[in-house]
Every structure is written in C-alpha cells, then in structure tokens.
Symmetry: C2
Subunit: 237 residues, 2 copies
DNA sequence: TCAACATGATAGTAAACCTATTATAAATGT
DNA sequence: ACATTTATAATAGGTTTACTATCATGTTGA
C-alpha cells in the first residue's frame, strides 16, 4: 500500500501556458476551479458551459473568460493539476526506494490507486480529479488544435509523468526499444481498464468487484514485466 | 504485404441501432455520409455542424436530422462503418491462413495499414476513415451517455473487431489471463502510436519518416509476442 | 389513381460561445 | 487627502449551434 501523504499545504504549480490569469492566486479563481472540477466531472466537458459555472460560483461568464480562454483550456488546467500532483506524489514516494524494479512497481501502484490513500490537503480533490481523468483525459490531445497547443508547455505536466516512467523503464532495461511508447501505454491502460470494466465490460478482463483495482495493478505489472524483461534469449540458452 | 482487396460492390451493413433512417438506402443519404466524412475529418467533430453539412450537400438541417439523431450518432455511424469494413477485410484475408500466429500477425498488419492497399470499391474512402478514426474514435466511448448508448448494438462493430482478436489470442495462448484487455490495447495502440508520432513525438518511439508504419507494426508485434508468449517458466527450466 | 412518405423551404426557440462596454473597487502618485 | 490610474466584475448584446415544427411539393408503389 502506498503511504498516506500527509504533507500539509503543498501548492501545485500549473504551467503558466495553461491559463490567462492564475486562478490559484485569487479567491474567485480557486472557487472557480473547485466548482469547475465538480461540474465537468458530473456532466462531462460537452455539457459543461461557462454559464453554468458562473451560476455555480455566483459570478459571471466574463469573469471566467479572464482566467481561461475557453472551457477546453480550463479542462486542460484541471488535468494538468492532476498530472502535476500525481507526479509530485510519485517522486515523493519513489525517491527513497533503492531498486529500480521497486520504483517501477510503486509507480504503477500509484497510477492505479491515484484517487485513494491521498490526504486531501489541497483544495482540489484527487478522487474527483482521477474520476475526471478517466473520461476526459484523452480529449485534450485528440483535437484539431493539438499542434498549436502543443507548444511544449500546454501538455507539460502529462509529459513529465510519461518521461519519469520512461526513464525508469530505460534504467530497468537499457536495451528496451520502446520505452516511451510503453510508458504512455501503461499510463493510459491504468485509466482505460478502469473505465472499460465499469462501462464496457465486454472489452476488458477486469472484474467490477472488490478486486478491481488489484486486478488492474496485476495487469499493469504483467504488461510491464513482459514488455521490459531483459534479454530473454540469453536466459533461454 | 496484405493482398489488395479487389472484390467489387461489397455493401457494408451498419447496425440499425446506429441511425434513424438508413443513409445507405438513398441518394441523399449516401451523399450525406460522404460529405460528413470529409467535413468531420477536416475540422473535427467539435467544429462540425449539421448546418455546414446541409450546405455541403445542398440540402437542409431538417433532412439530416431525419437520418441521425445528432452529430455524435453520425460520427458513430462512420466509425462503425470503418470497424465493420476492417472486420470484413481481416476475416477475408485471414481466413485462408492455417497457423494462428500467422493470423495474428496479419491481423496486426491490417490494423497498421488499414488505410492502404485498399481498393476503393466502396463510396466511403478507407484512407479518410482511418485518418478520422485516429482522432475521433475514442470520443464515442468517453461520454457520459456511454451506458445509455451501450445497448450492445451501438458499439457492436468495434466490439466485433476486438472479439476477433481476443479469440485469436486465446487460441494462441489458452492460458493468457488478459486476452480481451490485450486485444483492445493492441487495436488502440495501432492508432495512438500513429497519432503520437505525428503530433506528440516526445511520447512515442516511432519515427515520422518512411519507416513509420513498419515501426508501428514491429511495436505491435513486440507487444503481442511479449504479452502472449506461452509459459515462459517451462522453457526457462 | 390515391395514399403514404421523403424532401425542401421556412421559421422559430433556447442555449452556447464569445466580445464590447460600462460600473466599481483597489492601488498609486503628488 | 484627493485625483488618477489600474484591475476586476457586472451588464448587455451578437453570433452560432442544436434542435423542433409546419407545410408545400414531389415521388413511389399498392
């Protein structure tokens, strides 16, 4: 089990390329983020509008537009916050471990249990953020504005999580041919298997019961080990 | 290389749960599908509207609404068409092969080259459909209406492709613990690696040059073999 | 030939998305 | 202390989207 995080008052900094005005800096901004998270998670980004959010925080559309260009940028902010927060937690919990394989295993465990064992020190709840990420995370990439938005800052926090995992995989097996692709695949599968087992069970072997998370963790471990195992040929000789 | 499909006049049937009125049955309907495909592929589903489509086919919004409830259903229709078409092609090309491993390899090859080596017998171009699927395929699942829409018919064609691959994996290794999850993962990776290598290259090991497709194919083969290899423990003894 | 039905034209509503302008409060300079 | 600048919020409005309704026209096929 991952240790419970108890560090108080960590401020997660989201890259300035993700907003017009820093929402964490003002009272309205913080309230905006909190309510946006709840609303988007409840209805999905498609149904979500600035008008509804304005009503929820007892403010106006114009105010929200001063913080974010549009709702997709706001979604990206929340997801960036999620990845940044996860990245911090991973670094924190993995740092002290000595063996690379231990680090890798804990990395995957944190991905699967990202919403649990988390002291809600911060004003954005990781449980809700994780649930939001399940359905909305991919939507920020798969847009026709990817190339404009991908100025290496807009998606920075997600990329950092990927590159952390990539580098561990490379350490674990320096001759691995696909460290980046495998890293992203693992991160993506940690979400998708949870979503599929809940909503499209015919597309996943993961059950919906109590063992759900443990099964996903086993699956990720299996994927990791089978794809990053060192030179099988040698051993087989 | 997969054989070039030359069978003329194949009619791909899309499940009736995907439309209000069969668009393939009428002239307007077919024109609607063709133009919708081009428009959605060009601008993305977010920018796409029935008004624009109506203008493109020189008709009215009201007419289009008689075929599809909304633009998401239309997108799902096109993607269902894509999966159905792919499914047919896979069955056709794999049928004659004897060894399961051969079937698997060809399955993956067809996934990677889905837009190529395809005689455009049909009125919907597989090249454009494949490109559309790269960015839009996941969007039909990750919605808050999944559970309503997932009446086992709406996503039928995608599920069929998955289950075909699942059953091959099971034949190849009956003791495989995650056949469904691995099948979906492979299908998904065949798209994602292409998209990432084009738009977010820092998240993929696949290059953008001439070898792009071959690299993705190698990657998929690698994933398949490493995750479905039979009882390593026995061999290692 | 008549009934049934698909289409096209027209219109209209409600909401979403975004901008421009005006009001208000806080900060700053003399 | 008071005027001037600055930052932010409130108000309002325009455009587009998503969808529904109605009705005349044309086509099909029983």
């Amino acid at each position: 089990m991952p240790t419970l995080l108890t560090i108080p008052q960590i401020r997660i900094e989201v890259d300035s390329g993700c907003y017009l005005r820093d929402p964490q800096a003002t009272e309205v901004g913080r309230k905006l983020l909190q309510q946006a998270l709840l609303l988007i998670d409840k209805t999905g980004i498609e149904e979500f509008t600035f008008a509804k959010l304005a009503k929820a925080i007892d403010s106006t559309e114009a105010t929200i537009y001063r913080y974010f260009e549009n709702k997709h940028c706001l979604l990206n902010y929340l997801l960036s916050w999620y990845w940044a927060s996860l990245n911090f937690r991973i670094a924190f919990e993995i740092n002290s471990l000595s063996r690379v394989s231990e680090k890798l295993e804990n990395f995957l465990r944190i991905l699967v249990y990202a919403d649990l064992n988390y002291a809600s020190t911060s004003f954005l709840d990781m449980g809700v953020l994780h649930h939001l990420a399940l359905t909305e995370a991919d939507k920020v990439f798969f847009t026709h504005r990817v190339d404009e938005e991908n100025q290496d800052r807009y998606f920075r926090h997600y990329k950092m999580v990927c590159s952390q995992l990539t580098s561990l995989i490379e350490q674990h097996n320096p001759s691995c041919q696909w460290p980046k692709s495998i890293a992203c695949m693992l991160i993506e599968q940690s979400h998708r298997q949870l979503f599929f087992s809940d909503h499209l069970p015919s597309l996943s072997d993961v059950s919906q019961g109590k063992k759900q998370r443990e099964e996903i963790y086993s699956y990720l471990l299996f994927l990791l080990h089978s794809t990053t195992e060192k030179s099988k040929t040698k051993r087989q000789r």
